[in-house]
Symmetry: C2
Subunit: 411 residues, 2 copies
Amino acid sequence: MQRDKELIIQKYGGSSVANLERIRKVAERVISYKKKGFDLVVVVSALGDTTDKFIELAYKITSKPKEREMDMLISTGEQASCALLAMAIHNLDYEAISFTGGQVGIITDSTHTKARILKVDADRIREELKRGKIAIVAGFQGISRKKDITTLGRGGSDLTAVALSYTLGAKLCEIYTDVEGVYTTDPRIEPKARKLKIITYDEMLEMASLGAQVMQARSIELAKKFNVPIYVRSSFSEEEGTMITNQTKKLEEVVVTGITLNKDEAKVTIRDVPDKPGIAAKIFGKVSKEGINVDMIVQNVSKTKMTDLSFTIKKSDLSKTIKIVKDTAGEIKAGEVISDEDVARVSIVGVGMRSHPGIAAKMFKALAEKRINIEMISTSEISISCVIRKKLGEEAVRVIHAKFGLAKARI
Amino acid sequence: MQRDKELIIQKYGGSSVANLERIRKVAERVISYKKKGFDLVVVVSALGDTTDKFIELAYKITSKPKEREMDMLISTGEQASCALLAMAIHNLDYEAISFTGGQVGIITDSTHTKARILKVDADRIREELKRGKIAIVAGFQGISRKKDITTLGRGGSDLTAVALSYTLGAKLCEIYTDVEGVYTTDPRIEPKARKLKIITYDEMLEMASLGAQVMQARSIELAKKFNVPIYVRSSFSEEEGTMITNQTKKLEEVVVTGITLNKDEAKVTIRDVPDKPGIAAKIFGKVSKEGINVDMIVQNVSKTKMTDLSFTIKKSDLSKTIKIVKDTAGEIKAGEVISDEDVARVSIVGVGMRSHPGIAAKMFKALAEKRINIEMISTSEISISCVIRKKLGEEAVRVIHAKFGLAKARI
């Protein structure tokens, strides 16, 4: 799209607009970009913990709130915050206009509480930008073809920002949050963790799905699909953040970008599974039918026509999973079913890892040096994950971080 | 409109849905009507003092919030409450669906914070009623042709209820509030005040504009225009309320329906006004240009080519009015300008008053018997008003109430 001025999309999360003082700060920051000559579309989340409070209220009324009504209720949070931000900008004598998801034409399917965006009819927003106004958009929400209000699920405001960036041809999509960017690993675990200047979509996807809570995988996938450059930074400082793009590193660079730790999984082991075709399909077919995502799966080579099968799932799915697996184990005449919640998964992430020999060995060596036992291993195109004892998780992150020299400055 | 089932519109004010317990009670009442076989559309206001809190928040951000943004903000209150009521009905296993003003097709002009309804496209609501659902509608709000969210001003939820009653051909429009109905006078002033079973639109309009705070004049005007029968009652009891219709009383009935007291006005007197044509036009032209509503105007017959001119206005308009009037008094070479805030207006209201001789005399006599001096008198088709000393207001109401025998049962 041809533009007179370059357009920047900014998204401010709930903590960035948690109170009036912070809303004023956001208004000042937005205006500072306007002064530099950019057109601006600002996506906001609900104030602080408003959404959680609404959800709590709904559950006080009924144990099973209908999702359509839940969307009607919680979408008011973003609607209120975008009106308040527009007022704060007006108060500093700049022109701004707020919009609901419906008003900016974010058309979704009817899957309430986790709707998918079908298209964006951004005519109204284009018109107001042309008039020189700063457009403020309620994040996290859209409207179905029937004109019902929908919400986009966790991380929905990021999704709004990315979708508008693509539709309006933005130069950049800035995601303001309460962290300063993406780090080589969680700085609370390894204080020497270094903020990354740049990370690829694929790496960020691995980091997001493996537990780094900067952005939801869904928004990154959308950004990757439409090649929307994303800049993650803090709304509480002027520090530089992290750019997420499709730019790949050169071969001679360090291949390991970051390390993640996930303590939210549980391990399930089925002993003495008959080593016959179709058995795994039977077990995991039943599990997935219940909407349970299985993460790692490891099956040892069997010597005896019997094998042990282990897999990991989210801890919150454990009791449901155990029930299904025990039933199935009975049917297929397998042995004992054992669950273990005292596990952690530590992963290294980096594009080009597969083509660099020795990366996995280096990781295993780091763990071995600290006598950390590896219980499961799984690898992908850009990551290597090990399941270990939970209490050793933080130590594992630190030794691997040191082994790969991630604290050192990167060129 | 032809209907399978008779339709009832119910409107619940903010105090009726102030907390979860009350929302549950409203849900039970709504369902009790559904069980009786009625179709139901329920209009709700925002929970308790939500709207006031939003307005306060806006004024903390800016001293002059733009009205469009104010509507965006405060309309979220009703949107949240209608979702919560729908959930409470679902919890009792009945089908309900909530709508914003925009979703039910309440199309307004663009006069934000006090928009006028242009039309109601009620197709969606008809469709859901046909499916047997209870429709819950966010009161007080609409949508402009540009799809901006608008609000209808004070008493806007009543207006929503009346407009939907007309559009959908409702049998009855019930307004649930925190009083049990319309009384002969304010029961806090005269404990013997009697609840009226029936009152005409015109009488109710006088009562509303003269200070009885049951319903805003605007909603009653609309109900009168389209002959929508309104039933005012309490959401906190099962007591019978007051019906507002076009039904007129028979000639032999008592003509005085009610008595109102208004202590919110101030009196302005201009001394020694030259008794020439065009002088009054000049004074009141300038006052009305400032958006100030003048209520009563009294000018004595002059003997000396000079006259005293008195009028009443809202107390909140007094300082602005004094400024205008002093300037004008100088121009027209009139004398002193005196303001008096220690006044009250007591009024009797009743259809057919004009054709009943002696009503005014009876009122004046009641006041005289208690030595209450009348400072100004004004009459209309269905009311007679007297300005008196403020501290005598309550006593005046009581003596007139007794004089006309309003405490006695009416046939």
